[in-house]
Amino acid sequence: MASVRHDRRRARRPSKVRCVGHTALVAFVLITAGWSSSWDSIRAAARDIQSIQAAFTQEKHLQILARPLQSHGRLIFAAPDRLRWEYQSPLPSVLLMDEGRIQRFVKTDDTWTEDASAALPAMSFVMQEIGRWMNGRFDENPDFDARLESGGKIVLPPRQAALATVIQKIVLQLAETPGVIDSVNVYEDDHNFTRLHFKEVAVNQPIDPALFQHHS
């Protein structure tokens, strides 16, 4: 009996704890899901973003590589359309988007050289897309059929078959902080994809405009 009474007491107490826990969980979900629950709320949150700075780790998963290839860098955004996408390793390089102009510079032997590689046109497309995301306009690119899922997950499958041969889909995970993206997965096909994870995120800190201008 004693053990039964003890069990009842124990059973009663957790119900309060559970209640408080549930309330906290609901509040947490409302707070975190609040800004990511609709396209409108996402755009509203993005309107408060003047700048974002973050470090990132990039993992390139390739079928022909046993282990993913890692890169590290920093991303800096200033509203409405200035972006600096910088890699520190394996090769120091920086992609700059300033007033619609996109340039890449590569550091070789302590000097920055403008890069004119074949990849630049494709990267211009990517940079413009990132610029839209930073403004909360995930659903505005007609090339993608944007879908907002629960938990702040955004899935962007291409509408056209031609683009689908290049990118199968993009999956973005929104962070708890309003206006901030936690990770981006770009799937080229079932076996090859790129994963970007952002950390050390600073929102609305002052940014030197010179960071978006080219080095040469």
Binding site: K60, I64, L65, L91, V166
Partner: protein, 224 residues
């Protein structure tokens, strides 16, 4: 008068004739030169990632990442070209038959894909036949000469230890020069050395320069 008319024609003909540098059995030829020529090419299966800096005529420059997976025993190579941001621009498999798995512009051009695979084979694969001859080059450096189906390939050992491949076409025109410096990357102790720094200069039919630096190398199957 007719002799005077013929002179420009003779000069033109002489200019269009190309000759290979003489390779002679004279001088102090290292006994291990043929082994040294062969050893620059990986013997075991490797996966390697290099940064690739490209110099095009007109001063244009480009940078990409190159991934190769080599199986020399099977004469097979898989390769991928990535933008620095990780976008896969090109991927192909070549086991004697070239299969292009992905090619974004401008890599969808067959000539570009074929030329790229030929460059990869020149850098990483040993000529099929043993050397035709070995000896001293006119520069005073030891080297080996290989006969290929469509030309000649010389491999020369520099005093610095760098090995340089000279590739001539069937008209004896120098079409590629490749400098290779090998190293043991981190985590590959006990394995063969691999090409760490590669400088490829292309002269014909197109002119360009590629500078490759090793990012990482892993043996596909560990040596026993």
């Amino acid at each position: 008068m007719s002799r005077v008319r013929l002179l420009p024609l003779i000069v033109l003909m002489l200019m269009s004739c190309h000759s290979l540098p003489a390779i002679t059995p004279n001088g102090k030829i290292p006994t291990d030169i043929e082994a040294a020529c062969a050893v620059i090419f990986p013997r075991q299966a490797w996966r390697m990632v290099h940064t690739i800096k490209t110099d095009f005529p007109g001063g244009r420059k480009g940078v990409m990442l190159g991934v190769v997976s080599l199986v020399p025993d099977e004469n097979t190579v898989e390769c991928a070209l990535l933008s620095i941001e990780g976008l896969r621009l090109f991927e192909a498999h070549d086991d004697g038959t070239l299969t292009i798995r992905r090619a974004l512009p401008p890599f969808e051009r067959p000539a570009l894909a074929n030329g790229m695979m030929q460059d990869i084979r020149l850098i990483f694969f040993r000529p099929e036949a043993p050397p035709l001859t070995s000896g001293m080059m006119p520069s005073g450096e030891p080297g080996c000469r290989y006969a290929l189906a469509d030309g000649i390939q010389d491999i020369v050992r520099k005093p610095s230890g760098e090995m340089v491949i000279h590739r001539y076409d069937e008209k004896n025109r120098l079409i590629r020069r490749v400098g290779i410096t090998r190293c043991h990357p981190d985590g590959t102790a006990g394995q063969e050395a691999v090409p760490c720094r590669i400088l490829l200069e292309a002269f014909h039919p197109a002119s360009y320069q590629l500078e490759l630096d090793l990012v990482e190398a892993r043996p596909t199957v560990d040596s026993p």
